[in-house]
């Protein structure tokens, strides 16, 4: 008995304690404040009354304006996630499988965009897709079109901007997952008669699913919480739920409603994580990261 007491390893507790308190201080307490604020009442712009009432929650639950925004956000998030998965798998596969001696260079190229501000990367599309942008300039110069094609300020440009910004997260997750697969498995499948595509489909792809799923979860959640990209690249009807939060907090100076909407978004995106956990298991995330 005495030996068991002496042998109790306290190191995990000690190591986890700082992270635990950091999460309490930086996530749980602020979120609790937001939840409490959602019950306050906005009297006038920037003037709130301490109260415990459900007016804001009732409005969110019953107003179709918010329901449409939720639907639109989920639809755009899903589309962006699928596009990022399709576009991200190929470079991730290439980086993982290449025999190129300087693989680190490819990984560096992948993280290079993070050196430039997210907003600047988003704004750069105006110079590519705009009326006087690079693409229209090329098309007009080649005589393919008589006048510039409208490619900006619509849902297409918003999705493009979101895919562009979040694609590295997808690629990195898939890459890490692919990198962890035993390199002998695919050749083994080939020796057993599988065609290259068949070997990929039945061996590599299933084994890389944790990375693909983790990347998809990240891209979905990040897209769902975006608001700057639609502001910059979207037209009047291109917005996400985050833009409604911005409106409530910054332009209407209605913090209680902003808090209600923020918590609603948190619950929605949290539900996505729960669904992911139900089907994939959150432990798959750790597998994705090696």
């Amino acid at each position: 008995m005495g030996d068991a007491t002496v042998g109790l390893d306290r190191r995990p507790v000690l190591l986890l304690t700082p992270a635990f308190f950091a999460i309490i201080a930086l996530v749980v307490i602020p979120m609790a404040f937001i939840l409490v604020y959602s019950f306050y009442e906005n009297i006038d712009l920037a003037v709130d009354k301490v109260a415990f009432q459900f007016g804001n929650w009732k409005e969110v639950a019953t107003d179709s304006y918010y329901h449409n925004a939720i639907w639109k956000t989920l639809r755009i998030s899903l589309t962006v996630t699928v596009l990022a998965a399709l576009l991200g798998y190929i470079p991730a596969y290439f980086i993982a499988m290449t025999k190129f001696r300087h693989k680190w260079l490819l990984l560096l190229l992948l993280i290079l965009p993070f050196w430039v501000s997210f907003i600047i990367r988003t704004l750069s599309w105006i110079h590519i897709l705009g009326n006087q942008g690079a693409l229209n300039g090329l098309f007009v110069t080649l005589g393919l079109v008589g006048e510039p094609i409208r490619m900006m300020f619509n849902e297409f440009s918003v999705m493009l901007g979101l895919v562009h910004v979040f694609l590295p997260y997808m690629i990195l997750n898939i890459y890490v997952s692919l990198e962890g697969i035993d390199g002998n498995l695919e050749p083994a499948a080939r020796t057993l008669g599988a065609k290259p595509w068949q070997a990929f489909k039945e061996v590599t792809l299933p084994l890389s699913m944790p990375g693909l799923a983790a990347g998809s979860l990240l891209v979905f959640v990040l897209t769902g919480g975006s608001y700057v990209t639609p502001l910059i690249l979207g037209g009047p009807s291109d917005f996400l739920f985050g833009n409604l939060i911005y409106d409530a907090v910054v332009t209407e100076l209605n913090w209680p409603m902003g808090a209600t909407l923020s918590f609603t978004l948190l619950v929605l995106l949290g539900a996505v994580v729960v669904i992911y956990s139900r089907f994939m298991g959150l432990n798959q995330l750790s597998k994705a990261f090696g």
């Binding site: 906005n42 006038d44 712009l45 920037a46 003037v47 304006y65 925004a69 050196w115 430039v116 501000s117 907003i119 600047i120 704004l123 105006i126 110079h127 705009g130 009326n131 006087q132 690079a134 409208r150 900006m152 300020f153 502001l231 037209g235 009047p236 009807s237 917005f239 833009n243 409604l244 409106d247 907090v249 910054v250 332009t251 209407e252 100076l253 209605n254 913090w255």
Partner: protein, 389 residues
């Protein structure tokens, strides 16, 4: 020179310059690449050094509208002020005063915020009503005697005993149009309804940042007096009609100029000074104020908790005729100085909205009592209409 400007603001300025044709696309991408590398390599060191330098003297934090307006203030007011006094002005750009109010409210103090380039008497009232005003000693701002009485009067109505700001400039939000696609005759004939011309669908813009601006034009288009709106539904119906034709609601003066210069849009409501800047740069953009078009006055508002004596010194410096005139010519908005007391050069007297009488009788301003009272409900309505509701 002390200048608080992040990468995004640098980029926006650069983008504005390339949009206006001031630099070539090749140079733009070269500068952009250099900026990224420089930021990566030296950003941290420079920020540390700048912080140490700032700690050395009296500092005033100024927040304004960015672009050519901030450039004019920096060049013609802040730099000479710093050289003359040894004090520092740290200027930054805001997206609107509601953004500043949100930050102050979130922080629970005005630390880091001293002087705002505040727009409209309605915002003066809001700042004062929320307890963020100060009592300026006008004896310490002798140059205020040259400011038009007509522009000070609305501020004195709100705070009769003392001012918390000095009026500094004024302008209008009229309609800009590309003369390659819209003739002057047509623009004049249509007035505010030019923004509703169906043939221009997808080539019309609008300011998305201010519900009252949209409502003002909705009132004009629905035949109502903007300062006495009776039928708000009619106003928002017109806003919806406009929305269905709009390519993009712009959110800053830089974006407005960019969209017009690149011919992404041909018609939009616009700030007079920004259009004047585009015209100077040779773009075929004309400007008109429709009957009862929206005029506004801007002030330099001193926030509670600021070093008032230093702020008064800066305001007096900014109101000195040579400074105010240089800033006015630079930012393309007429000065608040009375042209019957201070002779204005042609560079100022030729600006849109300039009133040589100093009485401002030809301009229609927002009635802060009526507009502030409607703001809670109507700003919410506008955010919904803007998004398709």
């Amino acid at each position: 020179m002390t200048k608080k400007m992040d990468d995004t603001q640098r980029y926006e300025r650069l983008r504005e310059a390339v949009g206006n044709g001031d630099i070539s696309r090749r140079s733009f991408f070269g500068l952009l690449g250099s900026a990224a590398i420089t930021t990566g390599l030296t950003g941290g060191i420079m920020t540390t050094m700048a912080n140490q330098a700032r700690a050395a003297g009296m500092e005033l934090n100024f927040e304004g509208w960015g672009g050519i307006v901030s450039e004019a203030l920096r060049k013609h007011a802040f730099n000479p002020y710093e050289a003359a006094t040894g004090n520092k002005v740290i200027d930054a750009t805001f997206g609107g005063e509601n953004e500043v109010l949100t930050k102050i409210k979130a922080a629970g103090s005005t630390n880091g915020h001293n002087i705002l380039h505040s727009s409209g008497v309605n915002w003066y009232k809001r700042w004062v009503d929320n307890g963020y005003g100060v009592e300026l000693n006008e004896d310490n701002i002798p140059n205020i005697k040259n400011v038009m009485e007509s522009i000070i009067a609305p501020f004195r109505e709100i705070t009769p005993n003392s001012l918390s700001a000095v009026p500094y400039d004024y302008g209008t939000t009229g309609i800009a149009y590309n003369t390659k696609y819209v003739s002057e005759e047509e623009a004049m004939a249509l007035g505010a309804d030019l923004l509703l011309k169906k043939d221009l669908k997808g080539k019309i813009g609008g300011w998305g940042g201010d519900w009252a601006n949209r409502a003002w034009y909705g009132a004009l288009q629905s035949g109502q007096d903007p300062n006495n709106i009776q039928d708000w539904d009619a106003v928002w119906d017109k806003a919806r009609e406009h929305r269905d034709l709009v390519l993009k609601y712009w959110g800053s003066g830089a974006e407005l100029m960019d969209l017009l210069a690149k011919e992404e849009i041909y018609v939009t409501e616009a700030w007079s000074g920004r259009v004047a800047a585009l015209k100077k740069q040779g773009h075929p953009i004309a400007y008109m104020d429709p009957p009862n078009g929206l005029a506004w006055m801007e002030s330099m508002f001193v926030l509670k908790g600021s070093p008032v004596a230093a702020a008064e010194e800066l305001l007096n410096f900014m109101l000195a005729p040579e400074t105010a005139i240089a800033v006015a010519a630079g930012q393309n908005y007429p000065s608040s100085l009375d042209p019957t007391k201070v002779e204005m050069p042609e560079s100022v007297s030729s600006l849109p909205a300039f009133d040589p009488t100093g009485k401002l009788e030809g301009l229609v301003f927002r009635d802060p009592i009526k507009w502030n009272a409607a703001e809670k409900d109507q700003s919410k309505k506008w955010n919904r209409v803007k998004k398709g509701a």
